[in-house]
Amino acid sequence: MTPFTYERAASPEAAAKAVAERPDAKFVAGGTNLVDLMKLGVEKPTHLVDVSRLKLGGIEETPEGGLKIGAQVKNSDLAADPMVRRRYPLLSRALLAGASGQLRNAASTGGNLLQRTRCPYFSNVAMPCNKRAPGSGCSALGGFNRNLAVLAASEACIATHPSDMAVAMAALDARVHTVTGAGEARTIPLADFYRAPGEDPRRETTLGHGELIAAVTLPPPPKGRQVYRKVRDRASYAFALVSVAAVVDGEGGEVRTSRLALGGVAHKPWRAVEAEKALTGARADGEAFAEAADAAMKDARGYGHNDFKIELAKRTIRRTLADAAGRAA
């Protein structure tokens, strides 16, 4: 672990400024991801700005009937919040499907959005990895890529974003509120928050250096039943091979609106817009769900070990849409 200095920020603005001023500075919240990566020599900040004690906790209703979630709200508190459980059960279930009780007690909303990939070559500094060491190559191509992407990957990187919470937030049209290094407030729809790996997989979001996540807002919940389904190699404490967040308003046997987001398949929580389009106005039946699943995975491509995920994702989408619509698959 590279030696570092440490400070506790007094305010969100001061925190943003402190990091913006030093290229090698980073925020730390729960530390459950950052500190691990520091020990492994993957992350090497020389200065840490602790944002965990900033007054960015709290879950409040917004005037338009949505929810504002402070960046420091712990994953376990967010999952247990009565408003979240009643109105956004998708989010609660996604959170509870992630990590372990101990980790969720420490993990923050902001940190969860920004957790790094679980690509096994990324976390091993002896391995070539474009995300960690640009230009060194991608060891996951031709390697063990069971937990890596099948959608919108690039030749430079096939990493996945590992968060469960972010998949639910993608389906719920969340917006991220930040404070920039210059002290300005900014709002970014989650759909525009993450970047595709492209040529330079180092950058994962559209945040600037020193830009602090202050809160996440959710619009009022979409109509319909919300279901989160996570498929993984063991029953708990494992990242998703594929996860599906679905909201279907299928009252009367016809899909009026739907939301579909996928985890474990792409560099970002993947909103399956094509599938949603295919579903709108369709009969809420197995055939329509199958078409939606095919549409969602139309451009998928496997890299060997993860080939099975394409079929797995389709099966899981069909099942989850059916469950959300209260129908047979």
Binding site: M1, R118, P120, S139, F144, D233, R234, F308, R315, T316
Partner: protein, 704 residues
Amino acid sequence: MAVSASPIGQPLDRVDGRLKVTGRAPYAFEHRTPQPAAYGFILGATVAKGRITTIDSTAAEKAPGVLLVMTHRNAPKQAPFGPPTVPTNRFQRARPYLADDRVRHWGEPVALVVAETFEAARHAASLVEVSYAAEDKKIGLREHLSEAWAPPKIQVGLKTDTSIGDFEAAFASGEVTVDAEYHVAQQHHMALEPHASIASWEGDALTLVTATQVVSSARACVAATLEMPKEKVRIVSPYVGGGFGGKLGVRADALLSAFAARALGRPVKVAQTRQQIFYVAGHRAESIQRIRLSAGKDGRLTGVSHDVVMQNCPTEDYAEQTAAQTRSLYGAPSIRTTHRLVNLDMQGGEPVRAPGEAPGMLALESAIDELAVKLGMDPVELRILNDVQTDPEKKVPFSSRRFVECLREGARRFGWADRPMRPRQRREGSTLIGYGVSAAMRPNYINAATAHASVSPDRKATIRIDMTDIGTGTYTILTQVAAETLGLPTKDVTVLLGDSLYPQSPGAGGSWGAASSATATLEACRALKAKMDAANEPVALEATGSVKAMKDNPDYKNFAQYCFGAHFAEVAVDEDTGEIRLRRMLGVFSAGRILNAKTARSQLIGGMIWGVSSALFEEAANDARFGHVANGDLAEYHVAAHADVPNVDAVFLDDRDDKANPLGAKGIGELGICGAGGSIANAVFNATGVRARTFPITLDSVIA
């Protein structure tokens, strides 16, 4: 507990339980040192084979707090490792580290960096620049099968190949046959406590606090490596956080801390990180096993054949006893077994809980199920039909074999009668339900041990033996044996373990620990009790007692000594996603006299859970391009989590084996894992109709 109640067998809580949960039972790394300790961090090689060309440690040496950078350039002189075959105990041979510029496998230590703090040492280690001349490496068992060779012997001195009857003829004329190849992945011990040591020197005498299963082996190995008398080495290992075979030998942490402490003249602590443990602690080598069975239409086996190929490293010849159970589990007029090794440029295989027996029985018990399916027979009945009371190969009776009772009792308790005979017959919505059964069998061993017992005038007894308690409950069972023999309450007995100052035991391994150390304790306490009874007034008294090794005990030649059991599992398989989840599992065991009902049950369910884990989750992904384990941490190398083992129970038949030892107790630590995974694989078949022959069974193989 009242003196009158018989303490042996009681479900006594662990006598060290309070110390453990209050943090007062120190593990190796937590011991206090006479002077402040320095911290060592190991740097591992990042090639799988080759030579170190240069090491630049300038930056590391200048880093704050750094005291020493040790590499092959300045490591002390050590005895050579020697030829691959060891005539005696492989864990007592010299284990040189940093002895030359060669790299034999990925992660092999190439430097030790010592600093004032662990963090400073770790950081400085990242500043050491090592260049290598990499050489062509061999990784990948299947790719190198043509290089398989026959080792002179397999583990515990067993024959490499055996054959009775004419298997080929039996197979050719078999009315019903199975010919299947099974693959079991490389698996790792992953004890909760990482390998760790603290070395301190006083003059030419070394005290090494280390996490080890066998104190006397640790002592012998350190002395052999440093070419010093054993008497000058003291090993201290009072509490060990799991071993599973991974701590039978001492590792780089022990030896490197000893080198560095001597060089610096102060205590040095070295702990290995979880990631490092994938390269330096041994593993269960990957195996490819072919099993052929032939039977008559009535289900009677006419031939059994088991051919095993396993990974080995070029510097050792470690061949597990993978087909050894096949020689004795079922009766057939023809049985043949073979073991072969393929040398790869990786660390070698080493004993992992039930070495050979676990992967071998996973394959064998799957094959027996395949036969039952072909015969259209209940797999419980097929096993019962082929039970034997005389060891088919050794031609001696079993000292006790209640396999059939285990099967029948298990079937009754589990509700086996409800099992659908054909696959895919039971579903709950989109979930398929299946039942599976398998056998458990493990040899019973005993080894030479001596214990010292003493009593004070106020009738408080103390037992001393260099046995270790690796989390199994040794402190507790020895307390019970001593209390009962001396006629004292258990609270008045103190057991001291894990110190080479105490009389020698074989340590914890091979499931011989409890029987060996408990018998020595029994004998010491019997001798002491005689003295106590003879004394007219309360005085301080002491006595020692011993047990002989099995090679000197005719009951281990004239009888085949094994423990038996039967596993029953119910799994649920999601038809959409292929996810396999265990619902419940029951093991019924015949394992001699149970010394503590609670710790024994924990041992058995622990073994069963590992069986589930190796059937469904555990696989080290060896990346042939680099030679490293791609998923080398516990986030990606999956072991069963709590949610994976919701309902696992173990039941013992009331048992006592008078051929085993005066206590009638047998080794149980490895029995639970033997065959356990087979019941899972067979349940998956019963649920889905998919026969998995590659372990772990992952969801993609079910939906493929």
